[in-house]
Amino acid sequence: MEKKNRTVRITIIGFGYVGAGVTEVIHRKRAEIARRYGLTLNLVGIADLKGIFIDERGLDEAELLKLRTGEKEWERPGDMTSIDLIKEVEHEVMVETTPTNIDHGQPGLRHITTALESGRHVVTSNKGPLALAYTPLMELAKKHDRELKFGATVGGAMPLISLMRKNLAGNEVLSIQGILNGTCNYILTRMAEEGLPYEHVLKEAQEIGIAEADPAKDVEGTDTAVKLVILANSVFGLNATYKDVEVAGITAITSDALKLADDAGYVIKLIGEVTKAGCLKVRPRLVPKNDPLNVSGTLNVATIRTDLAGDITLIGKGAGPIEAASTILSDILSIYT
Protein backbone atom coordinates (compact mmCIF):
# COMPACT_ATOMS: atom_id res chain seq x y z
CA MET A 1 0.00 0.00 0.00
CA GLU A 2 1.41 3.36 -1.03
CA LYS A 3 1.16 6.54 0.98
CA LYS A 4 -2.23 8.26 1.13
CA ASN A 5 -3.08 11.89 0.31
CA ARG A 6 -1.07 12.00 -2.81
CA THR A 7 -1.46 13.32 -6.31
CA VAL A 8 -1.44 10.88 -9.21
CA ARG A 9 -0.46 12.54 -12.46
CA ILE A 10 -1.99 10.88 -15.51
CA THR A 11 -1.50 11.10 -19.27
CA ILE A 12 -3.87 9.68 -21.86
CA ILE A 13 -2.43 8.57 -25.17
CA GLY A 14 -5.14 8.07 -27.79
CA PHE A 15 -8.08 10.44 -27.50
CA GLY A 16 -10.77 8.39 -29.22
CA TYR A 17 -14.01 7.52 -27.52
CA VAL A 18 -12.33 5.51 -24.74
CA GLY A 19 -9.69 8.19 -24.06
CA ALA A 20 -12.45 10.80 -23.89
CA GLY A 21 -14.46 8.48 -21.63
CA VAL A 22 -11.53 8.27 -19.21
CA THR A 23 -11.23 12.05 -19.27
CA GLU A 24 -14.90 12.43 -18.44
CA VAL A 25 -14.77 9.84 -15.67
CA ILE A 26 -11.73 11.48 -14.06
CA HIS A 27 -13.60 14.78 -14.13
CA ARG A 28 -16.77 13.32 -12.64
CA LYS A 29 -15.11 11.23 -9.96
CA ARG A 30 -12.21 13.42 -8.83
CA ALA A 31 -13.77 14.74 -5.62
CA GLU A 32 -15.15 11.37 -4.59
CA ILE A 33 -11.86 9.57 -5.22
CA ALA A 34 -9.97 12.19 -3.23
CA ARG A 35 -12.37 11.72 -0.33
CA ARG A 36 -12.50 7.93 -0.41
CA TYR A 37 -8.95 7.01 -1.30
CA GLY A 38 -6.91 10.14 -0.54
CA LEU A 39 -5.82 10.28 -4.18
CA THR A 40 -6.04 13.34 -6.37
CA LEU A 41 -6.15 12.37 -10.04
CA ASN A 42 -4.52 15.05 -12.13
CA LEU A 43 -4.61 14.85 -15.93
CA VAL A 44 -1.37 16.44 -17.10
CA GLY A 45 -1.19 15.49 -20.77
CA ILE A 46 -3.14 13.99 -23.65
CA ALA A 47 -1.88 12.98 -27.06
CA ASP A 48 -3.54 11.86 -30.24
CA LEU A 49 -2.53 11.67 -33.89
CA LYS A 50 -4.06 15.12 -34.26
CA GLY A 51 -2.12 16.90 -31.52
CA ILE A 52 -1.03 17.22 -27.91
CA PHE A 53 -2.08 19.15 -24.82
CA ILE A 54 0.08 19.46 -21.74
CA ASP A 55 -0.33 21.27 -18.44
CA GLU A 56 1.72 20.09 -15.51
CA ARG A 57 -0.67 21.80 -13.09
CA GLY A 58 -3.59 19.88 -14.58
CA LEU A 59 -5.65 20.14 -17.75
CA ASP A 60 -9.29 21.22 -17.76
CA GLU A 61 -11.18 18.07 -18.69
CA ALA A 62 -14.39 19.83 -19.69
CA GLU A 63 -12.37 21.91 -22.12
CA LEU A 64 -10.64 18.80 -23.56
CA LEU A 65 -13.95 17.06 -24.20
CA LYS A 66 -14.80 19.85 -26.64
CA LEU A 67 -12.14 18.34 -28.90
CA ARG A 68 -14.53 15.46 -29.54
CA THR A 69 -17.40 17.71 -30.58
CA GLY A 70 -15.27 19.96 -32.75
CA GLU A 71 -15.81 22.98 -30.47
CA LYS A 72 -12.09 23.05 -29.78
CA GLU A 73 -9.16 22.66 -32.19
CA TRP A 74 -6.17 20.39 -31.63
CA GLU A 75 -2.77 21.99 -31.09
CA ARG A 76 0.76 20.65 -31.13
CA PRO A 77 3.53 22.35 -29.13
CA GLY A 78 6.60 22.39 -31.39
CA ASP A 79 6.97 19.05 -33.12
CA MET A 80 6.32 17.07 -29.97
CA THR A 81 5.23 13.43 -30.35
CA SER A 82 3.33 11.10 -28.06
CA ILE A 83 6.64 9.39 -27.27
CA ASP A 84 8.16 12.75 -26.20
CA LEU A 85 5.15 13.37 -23.99
CA ILE A 86 5.51 9.98 -22.29
CA LYS A 87 9.24 10.47 -21.72
CA GLU A 88 9.44 14.14 -20.83
CA VAL A 89 6.30 15.14 -18.96
CA GLU A 90 6.50 14.01 -15.34
CA HIS A 91 3.62 11.67 -14.49
CA GLU A 92 2.89 8.43 -12.67
CA VAL A 93 0.32 6.66 -14.87
CA MET A 94 0.11 6.50 -18.66
CA VAL A 95 -3.33 5.46 -19.96
CA GLU A 96 -2.98 3.88 -23.42
CA THR A 97 -6.21 3.98 -25.43
CA THR A 98 -5.07 4.04 -29.05
CA PRO A 99 -6.82 1.65 -31.49
CA THR A 100 -5.97 -2.05 -31.47
CA ASN A 101 -3.73 -3.45 -34.17
CA ILE A 102 -3.29 -7.20 -33.92
CA ASP A 103 -0.62 -7.55 -36.62
CA HIS A 104 2.13 -5.39 -35.12
CA GLY A 105 0.54 -3.84 -32.02
CA GLN A 106 1.59 -0.30 -32.93
CA PRO A 107 1.49 2.43 -31.89
CA GLY A 108 0.35 1.05 -28.55
CA LEU A 109 3.30 -1.30 -28.11
CA ARG A 110 5.81 1.55 -28.46
CA HIS A 111 3.83 3.74 -26.08
CA ILE A 112 3.68 1.03 -23.43
CA THR A 113 7.35 0.06 -23.59
CA THR A 114 8.43 3.72 -23.53
CA ALA A 115 6.21 4.42 -20.52
CA LEU A 116 7.48 1.43 -18.53
CA GLU A 117 11.09 2.30 -19.38
CA SER A 118 10.41 5.88 -18.26
CA GLY A 119 9.10 4.65 -14.92
CA ARG A 120 5.37 5.14 -15.55
CA HIS A 121 2.68 2.69 -14.56
CA VAL A 122 0.56 1.70 -17.56
CA VAL A 123 -3.21 1.13 -17.77
CA THR A 124 -4.51 0.14 -21.19
CA SER A 125 -7.59 -0.89 -23.16
CA ASN A 126 -5.49 -1.71 -26.22
CA LYS A 127 -5.65 -5.43 -27.04
CA GLY A 128 -2.90 -5.56 -29.68
CA PRO A 129 0.20 -5.18 -27.49
CA LEU A 130 -1.16 -7.57 -24.84
CA ALA A 131 -2.10 -10.24 -27.38
CA LEU A 132 1.22 -10.00 -29.20
CA ALA A 133 3.73 -9.46 -26.42
CA TYR A 134 2.18 -10.35 -23.08
CA THR A 135 5.22 -12.03 -21.54
CA PRO A 136 7.90 -9.50 -22.64
CA LEU A 137 5.69 -6.60 -21.52
CA MET A 138 5.12 -8.16 -18.11
CA GLU A 139 8.84 -8.79 -17.74
CA LEU A 140 9.60 -5.20 -18.71
CA ALA A 141 7.08 -3.92 -16.12
CA LYS A 142 8.68 -6.13 -13.48
CA LYS A 143 12.18 -5.00 -14.39
CA HIS A 144 11.18 -1.37 -13.89
CA ASP A 145 9.05 -2.17 -10.86
CA ARG A 146 5.95 -0.69 -12.50
CA GLU A 147 2.42 -2.00 -12.95
CA LEU A 148 0.87 -2.88 -16.31
CA LYS A 149 -2.91 -3.17 -16.01
CA PHE A 150 -5.14 -4.25 -18.86
CA GLY A 151 -8.59 -5.10 -17.43
CA ALA A 152 -10.32 -2.99 -20.09
CA THR A 153 -9.01 -5.18 -22.93
CA VAL A 154 -11.45 -8.00 -22.15
CA GLY A 155 -15.13 -7.73 -21.30
CA GLY A 156 -15.49 -3.95 -21.14
CA ALA A 157 -17.07 -3.02 -17.84
CA MET A 158 -17.00 -6.58 -16.46
CA PRO A 159 -14.18 -6.86 -13.90
CA LEU A 160 -13.24 -10.24 -15.35
CA ILE A 161 -9.47 -10.22 -15.04
CA SER A 162 -9.31 -8.55 -11.62
CA LEU A 163 -11.98 -10.93 -10.33
CA MET A 164 -9.90 -13.94 -11.27
CA ARG A 165 -6.59 -12.50 -10.17
CA LYS A 166 -7.71 -11.03 -6.86
CA ASN A 167 -11.06 -12.19 -5.60
CA LEU A 168 -10.72 -15.79 -6.71
CA ALA A 169 -7.18 -16.12 -5.42
CA GLY A 170 -6.64 -19.65 -4.14
CA ASN A 171 -9.03 -21.08 -6.70
CA GLU A 172 -7.72 -22.76 -9.75
CA VAL A 173 -9.48 -21.45 -12.84
CA LEU A 174 -10.21 -24.38 -15.15
CA SER A 175 -11.87 -22.63 -18.07
CA ILE A 176 -13.57 -19.45 -19.18
CA GLN A 177 -16.43 -19.50 -21.62
CA GLY A 178 -18.53 -16.61 -22.78
CA ILE A 179 -19.69 -13.91 -25.13
CA LEU A 180 -16.92 -11.33 -25.44
CA ASN A 181 -18.15 -9.34 -28.43
CA GLY A 182 -21.22 -7.16 -28.10
CA THR A 183 -21.58 -6.54 -31.84
CA CYS A 184 -22.01 -10.23 -32.64
CA ASN A 185 -24.39 -10.66 -29.75
CA TYR A 186 -26.51 -7.75 -30.93
CA ILE A 187 -26.68 -9.16 -34.48
CA LEU A 188 -27.58 -12.70 -33.37
CA THR A 189 -30.14 -11.42 -30.86
CA ARG A 190 -31.89 -9.24 -33.46
CA MET A 191 -31.81 -12.01 -36.08
CA ALA A 192 -33.39 -14.44 -33.63
CA GLU A 193 -36.00 -12.06 -32.28
CA GLU A 194 -37.11 -10.56 -35.58
CA GLY A 195 -36.39 -13.42 -37.98
CA LEU A 196 -34.31 -11.03 -40.08
CA PRO A 197 -31.43 -12.04 -42.35
CA TYR A 198 -27.81 -11.41 -41.35
CA GLU A 199 -27.08 -8.72 -43.97
CA HIS A 200 -30.09 -6.68 -42.94
CA VAL A 201 -29.26 -6.73 -39.23
CA LEU A 202 -25.59 -5.97 -39.88
CA LYS A 203 -26.59 -2.87 -41.85
CA GLU A 204 -28.91 -1.79 -39.05
CA ALA A 205 -26.13 -2.29 -36.50
CA GLN A 206 -23.80 -0.15 -38.61
CA GLU A 207 -26.41 2.60 -38.83
CA ILE A 208 -26.79 2.85 -35.07
CA GLY A 209 -23.05 2.63 -34.44
CA ILE A 210 -22.95 -0.85 -32.88
CA ALA A 211 -21.01 -2.33 -35.80
CA GLU A 212 -18.10 -0.62 -37.52
CA ALA A 213 -18.07 0.27 -41.24
CA ASP A 214 -15.65 -2.63 -41.65
CA PRO A 215 -17.23 -5.22 -39.35
CA ALA A 216 -14.80 -8.06 -40.17
CA LYS A 217 -12.91 -7.96 -36.85
CA ASP A 218 -16.12 -8.43 -34.90
CA VAL A 219 -18.25 -10.73 -37.07
CA GLU A 220 -15.44 -13.04 -38.13
CA GLY A 221 -14.51 -13.69 -34.51
CA THR A 222 -11.08 -12.00 -34.55
CA ASP A 223 -11.88 -9.62 -31.70
CA THR A 224 -13.10 -12.48 -29.51
CA ALA A 225 -10.03 -14.54 -30.42
CA VAL A 226 -7.64 -11.75 -29.39
CA LYS A 227 -9.43 -11.45 -26.05
CA LEU A 228 -9.07 -15.20 -25.52
CA VAL A 229 -5.33 -14.91 -26.16
CA ILE A 230 -5.08 -12.23 -23.46
CA LEU A 231 -7.04 -14.43 -21.03
CA ALA A 232 -4.96 -17.49 -21.91
CA ASN A 233 -1.73 -15.65 -21.16
CA SER A 234 -2.80 -13.65 -18.13
CA VAL A 235 -5.01 -16.19 -16.34
CA PHE A 236 -3.49 -19.50 -17.40
CA GLY A 237 0.10 -18.40 -17.92
CA LEU A 238 0.11 -19.84 -21.42
CA ASN A 239 2.22 -18.43 -24.20
CA ALA A 240 -0.59 -18.28 -26.71
CA THR A 241 -0.81 -16.17 -29.85
CA TYR A 242 -3.67 -15.44 -32.23
CA LYS A 243 -2.57 -18.35 -34.43
CA ASP A 244 -3.38 -20.79 -31.62
CA VAL A 245 -7.08 -19.93 -31.73
CA GLU A 246 -9.52 -21.96 -33.79
CA VAL A 247 -11.86 -19.26 -35.11
CA ALA A 248 -15.26 -19.28 -36.81
CA GLY A 249 -17.47 -16.20 -36.94
CA ILE A 250 -21.17 -15.55 -37.40
CA THR A 251 -21.32 -14.52 -41.07
CA ALA A 252 -22.72 -17.88 -42.18
CA ILE A 253 -25.54 -17.99 -39.62
CA THR A 254 -28.94 -18.04 -41.29
CA SER A 255 -32.25 -16.92 -39.81
CA ASP A 256 -33.49 -20.45 -40.57
CA ALA A 257 -30.78 -21.84 -38.30
CA LEU A 258 -31.85 -19.49 -35.51
CA LYS A 259 -35.44 -20.64 -35.97
CA LEU A 260 -34.44 -24.31 -35.84
CA ALA A 261 -32.37 -23.61 -32.72
CA ASP A 262 -35.35 -21.85 -31.15
CA ASP A 263 -37.61 -24.84 -31.89
CA ALA A 264 -35.13 -27.09 -30.08
CA GLY A 265 -34.91 -24.81 -27.04
CA TYR A 266 -31.67 -23.04 -27.88
CA VAL A 267 -30.24 -19.74 -29.03
CA ILE A 268 -27.10 -19.39 -31.15
CA LYS A 269 -24.29 -17.31 -29.63
CA LEU A 270 -20.72 -16.62 -30.64
CA ILE A 271 -18.88 -18.29 -27.78
CA GLY A 272 -15.23 -17.87 -26.92
CA GLU A 273 -13.68 -20.51 -24.71
CA VAL A 274 -10.26 -21.01 -23.24
CA THR A 275 -9.17 -23.86 -21.01
CA LYS A 276 -6.26 -24.36 -18.66
CA ALA A 277 -4.92 -26.98 -21.06
CA GLY A 278 -4.53 -24.37 -23.78
CA CYS A 279 -7.56 -25.05 -25.95
CA LEU A 280 -8.72 -21.74 -27.48
CA LYS A 281 -11.85 -21.69 -29.63
CA VAL A 282 -14.23 -19.09 -31.00
CA ARG A 283 -17.30 -20.51 -32.70
CA PRO A 284 -21.06 -20.28 -32.80
CA ARG A 285 -22.60 -22.62 -30.24
CA LEU A 286 -26.06 -23.64 -29.17
CA VAL A 287 -26.84 -22.17 -25.77
CA PRO A 288 -29.89 -23.48 -23.87
CA LYS A 289 -32.41 -20.67 -23.42
CA ASN A 290 -32.25 -21.00 -19.63
CA ASP A 291 -28.42 -20.98 -19.45
CA PRO A 292 -26.78 -17.95 -17.80
CA LEU A 293 -24.77 -17.45 -21.02
CA ASN A 294 -27.98 -16.55 -22.83
CA VAL A 295 -27.79 -12.76 -22.56
CA SER A 296 -29.24 -10.51 -25.23
CA GLY A 297 -28.43 -7.30 -27.06
CA THR A 298 -24.89 -5.98 -26.77
CA LEU A 299 -24.28 -7.53 -23.34
CA ASN A 300 -21.18 -9.56 -22.64
CA VAL A 301 -21.08 -12.57 -20.33
CA ALA A 302 -18.46 -14.98 -19.07
CA THR A 303 -18.67 -18.13 -17.00
CA ILE A 304 -15.52 -18.85 -15.03
CA ARG A 305 -15.17 -22.50 -14.04
CA THR A 306 -13.09 -22.98 -10.90
CA ASP A 307 -12.06 -25.93 -8.77
CA LEU A 308 -13.37 -24.63 -5.43
CA ALA A 309 -16.00 -21.99 -6.16
CA GLY A 310 -17.61 -23.89 -9.04
CA ASP A 311 -19.05 -21.76 -11.80
CA ILE A 312 -19.20 -17.99 -11.53
CA THR A 313 -20.95 -15.98 -14.21
CA LEU A 314 -20.43 -12.28 -14.86
CA ILE A 315 -22.73 -10.25 -17.08
CA GLY A 316 -22.04 -6.67 -18.10
CA LYS A 317 -21.72 -4.08 -20.76
CA GLY A 318 -18.92 -5.09 -23.09
CA ALA A 319 -18.40 -1.80 -24.86
CA GLY A 320 -18.99 1.92 -24.56
CA PRO A 321 -16.70 4.79 -23.53
CA ILE A 322 -17.85 5.15 -19.94
CA GLU A 323 -17.97 1.37 -19.40
CA ALA A 324 -14.39 0.93 -20.63
CA ALA A 325 -13.36 3.98 -18.59
CA SER A 326 -14.88 2.37 -15.51
CA THR A 327 -12.48 -0.55 -15.78
CA ILE A 328 -9.55 1.76 -16.55
CA LEU A 329 -10.35 3.85 -13.48
CA SER A 330 -10.49 0.70 -11.30
CA ASP A 331 -7.13 -0.36 -12.69
CA ILE A 332 -5.61 3.05 -11.89
CA LEU A 333 -6.97 2.95 -8.34
CA SER A 334 -5.81 -0.63 -7.82
CA ILE A 335 -2.20 0.53 -8.27
CA TYR A 336 -2.53 2.74 -5.19
CA THR A 337 -5.08 1.05 -2.95
Binding site: A252, D256, L260, I268, R285, L286
Partner: protein, 163 residues
Protein backbone atom coordinates in the same frame (compact mmCIF):
# COMPACT_ATOMS: atom_id res chain seq x y z
CA UNK B 1 -30.94 -55.74 -31.42
CA UNK B 2 -28.58 -54.03 -29.05
CA UNK B 3 -27.93 -55.87 -25.82
CA UNK B 4 -26.05 -54.62 -22.84
CA UNK B 5 -24.58 -57.15 -20.49
CA UNK B 6 -22.98 -56.72 -17.07
CA UNK B 7 -20.43 -59.47 -16.46
CA UNK B 8 -17.96 -60.25 -13.71
CA UNK B 9 -14.60 -61.70 -14.69
CA UNK B 10 -11.99 -63.45 -12.63
CA UNK B 11 -8.94 -61.30 -12.01
CA UNK B 12 -6.52 -63.44 -14.00
CA UNK B 13 -5.00 -62.77 -17.44
CA UNK B 14 -6.95 -63.66 -20.57
CA UNK B 15 -10.42 -63.45 -19.08
CA UNK B 16 -11.67 -60.58 -21.23
CA UNK B 17 -10.76 -62.35 -24.47
CA UNK B 18 -12.33 -65.49 -23.06
CA UNK B 19 -15.58 -63.62 -22.52
CA UNK B 20 -15.59 -61.83 -25.87
CA UNK B 21 -14.75 -64.75 -28.14
CA UNK B 22 -18.21 -66.40 -27.98
CA UNK B 23 -19.80 -63.09 -28.96
CA UNK B 24 -17.93 -62.95 -32.24
CA UNK B 25 -18.32 -66.69 -32.74
CA UNK B 26 -22.10 -66.18 -32.73
CA UNK B 27 -21.90 -63.30 -35.22
CA UNK B 28 -22.37 -60.53 -32.66
CA UNK B 29 -20.91 -57.07 -33.20
CA UNK B 30 -19.23 -55.65 -30.10
CA UNK B 31 -20.11 -51.95 -29.79
CA UNK B 32 -18.45 -51.10 -26.53
CA UNK B 33 -16.59 -52.68 -23.67
CA UNK B 34 -16.15 -50.90 -20.37
CA UNK B 35 -13.64 -52.71 -18.21
CA UNK B 36 -13.74 -51.43 -14.64
CA UNK B 37 -10.52 -52.74 -13.10
CA UNK B 38 -10.73 -50.23 -10.26
CA UNK B 39 -14.21 -51.34 -9.16
CA UNK B 40 -13.71 -54.92 -8.02
CA UNK B 41 -16.64 -56.81 -6.54
CA UNK B 42 -16.39 -58.03 -2.89
CA UNK B 43 -15.49 -61.45 -4.31
CA UNK B 44 -12.53 -59.91 -6.14
CA UNK B 45 -14.02 -60.12 -9.60
CA UNK B 46 -13.82 -57.35 -12.21
CA UNK B 47 -17.05 -55.85 -13.57
CA UNK B 48 -17.29 -55.42 -17.34
CA UNK B 49 -20.13 -53.83 -19.25
CA UNK B 50 -20.51 -55.02 -22.79
CA UNK B 51 -22.79 -53.63 -25.49
CA UNK B 52 -23.39 -55.98 -28.41
CA UNK B 53 -25.48 -55.81 -31.56
CA UNK B 54 -26.72 -59.35 -32.25
CA UNK B 55 -29.56 -61.55 -33.36
CA UNK B 56 -31.75 -61.84 -30.27
CA UNK B 57 -32.52 -65.49 -31.02
CA UNK B 58 -28.89 -66.31 -30.27
CA UNK B 59 -28.81 -64.59 -26.90
CA UNK B 60 -29.63 -67.72 -24.86
CA UNK B 61 -26.89 -69.63 -26.65
CA UNK B 62 -24.43 -66.86 -25.85
CA UNK B 63 -25.35 -66.85 -22.16
CA UNK B 64 -24.87 -70.64 -22.02
CA UNK B 65 -21.45 -70.37 -23.64
CA UNK B 66 -20.39 -67.67 -21.19
CA UNK B 67 -21.47 -69.72 -18.16
CA UNK B 68 -19.54 -72.70 -19.56
CA UNK B 69 -16.44 -70.46 -19.65
CA UNK B 70 -16.82 -69.39 -16.01
CA UNK B 71 -18.06 -65.87 -16.76
CA UNK B 72 -20.71 -64.53 -14.39
CA UNK B 73 -23.40 -62.66 -16.27
CA UNK B 74 -25.25 -60.61 -13.68
CA UNK B 75 -27.59 -58.68 -15.96
CA UNK B 76 -28.66 -58.56 -19.59
CA UNK B 77 -31.07 -56.17 -21.17
CA UNK B 78 -31.93 -54.47 -24.39
CA UNK B 79 -29.82 -51.34 -24.75
CA UNK B 80 -31.69 -48.15 -25.43
CA UNK B 81 -30.37 -44.92 -26.88
CA UNK B 82 -30.33 -43.00 -23.64
CA UNK B 83 -28.38 -39.85 -24.44
CA UNK B 84 -29.46 -37.28 -27.00
CA UNK B 85 -28.11 -34.09 -28.45
CA UNK B 86 -29.27 -31.53 -30.97
CA UNK B 87 -26.78 -30.00 -33.41
CA UNK B 88 -27.31 -27.55 -36.24
CA UNK B 89 -25.85 -27.79 -39.71
CA UNK B 90 -25.60 -24.86 -42.13
CA UNK B 91 -24.40 -25.24 -45.73
CA UNK B 92 -25.07 -27.32 -48.79
CA UNK B 93 -26.41 -30.14 -46.66
CA UNK B 94 -28.58 -31.94 -49.19
CA UNK B 95 -26.27 -31.55 -52.17
CA UNK B 96 -23.32 -32.88 -50.24
CA UNK B 97 -25.06 -36.25 -49.82
CA UNK B 98 -27.25 -35.94 -46.74
CA UNK B 99 -27.72 -39.68 -46.68
CA UNK B 100 -24.02 -40.29 -46.34
CA UNK B 101 -23.82 -37.67 -43.55
CA UNK B 102 -26.53 -39.52 -41.61
CA UNK B 103 -24.99 -42.91 -42.36
CA UNK B 104 -21.69 -41.80 -40.85
CA UNK B 105 -23.53 -41.76 -37.51
CA UNK B 106 -25.93 -44.66 -38.02
CA UNK B 107 -23.23 -47.09 -39.06
CA UNK B 108 -21.43 -46.73 -35.73
CA UNK B 109 -23.99 -49.03 -34.14
CA UNK B 110 -23.87 -47.03 -30.90
CA UNK B 111 -25.55 -43.86 -32.16
CA UNK B 112 -28.28 -42.89 -34.58
CA UNK B 113 -29.78 -39.82 -36.15
CA UNK B 114 -33.28 -39.93 -34.68
CA UNK B 115 -34.70 -36.63 -35.96
CA UNK B 116 -33.91 -34.20 -38.72
CA UNK B 117 -35.52 -30.89 -39.50
CA UNK B 118 -34.46 -29.21 -42.70
CA UNK B 119 -35.01 -25.73 -44.02
CA UNK B 120 -34.19 -25.10 -47.69
CA UNK B 121 -34.72 -21.48 -48.72
CA UNK B 122 -33.82 -21.91 -52.41
CA UNK B 123 -32.14 -24.20 -54.89
CA UNK B 124 -28.70 -22.60 -54.81
CA UNK B 125 -28.86 -21.22 -51.29
CA UNK B 126 -27.42 -22.82 -48.20
CA UNK B 127 -29.76 -24.93 -46.12
CA UNK B 128 -30.03 -25.18 -42.36
CA UNK B 129 -30.86 -28.32 -40.45
CA UNK B 130 -31.27 -29.42 -36.90
CA UNK B 131 -30.19 -32.98 -36.29
CA UNK B 132 -30.95 -34.99 -33.17
CA UNK B 133 -28.43 -37.71 -32.41
CA UNK B 134 -29.07 -40.38 -29.81
CA UNK B 135 -26.50 -42.77 -28.41
CA UNK B 136 -26.28 -45.54 -25.85
CA UNK B 137 -24.15 -43.46 -23.47
CA UNK B 138 -22.42 -40.12 -22.96
CA UNK B 139 -19.07 -41.32 -24.28
CA UNK B 140 -20.69 -42.75 -27.38
CA UNK B 141 -22.65 -39.54 -27.93
CA UNK B 142 -19.46 -37.55 -27.77
CA UNK B 143 -17.81 -39.93 -30.22
CA UNK B 144 -20.79 -39.57 -32.59
CA UNK B 145 -20.43 -35.79 -32.43
CA UNK B 146 -16.74 -36.11 -33.33
CA UNK B 147 -17.62 -38.21 -36.34
CA UNK B 148 -20.25 -35.71 -37.47
CA UNK B 149 -17.82 -32.82 -36.96
CA UNK B 150 -15.30 -34.51 -39.22
CA UNK B 151 -17.92 -35.26 -41.85
CA UNK B 152 -19.15 -31.64 -41.75
CA UNK B 153 -15.62 -30.30 -42.01
CA UNK B 154 -14.90 -32.50 -45.02
CA UNK B 155 -18.07 -31.29 -46.74
CA UNK B 156 -17.61 -27.62 -45.87
CA UNK B 157 -20.71 -27.57 -43.68
CA UNK B 158 -20.78 -25.49 -40.51
CA UNK B 159 -21.71 -27.49 -37.43
CA UNK B 160 -23.03 -25.77 -34.31
CA UNK B 161 -22.99 -27.88 -31.17
CA UNK B 162 -24.40 -27.20 -27.70
CA UNK B 163 -22.15 -25.71 -25.02
Amino acid sequence: MKVSMDMELQDIPGQLVRALTPVSDLGGNILSVVHQRDKKTPAGRIPVRLVVEMDERRLDKLLALLVERGVNVVRTGEERLKESMVVLLIGHIVHSDLRETIDSIDRTGFAEVVALSLSMPGVNEESSASVTISAIGKTELHEALNILEQTAKRKGIMLISPI
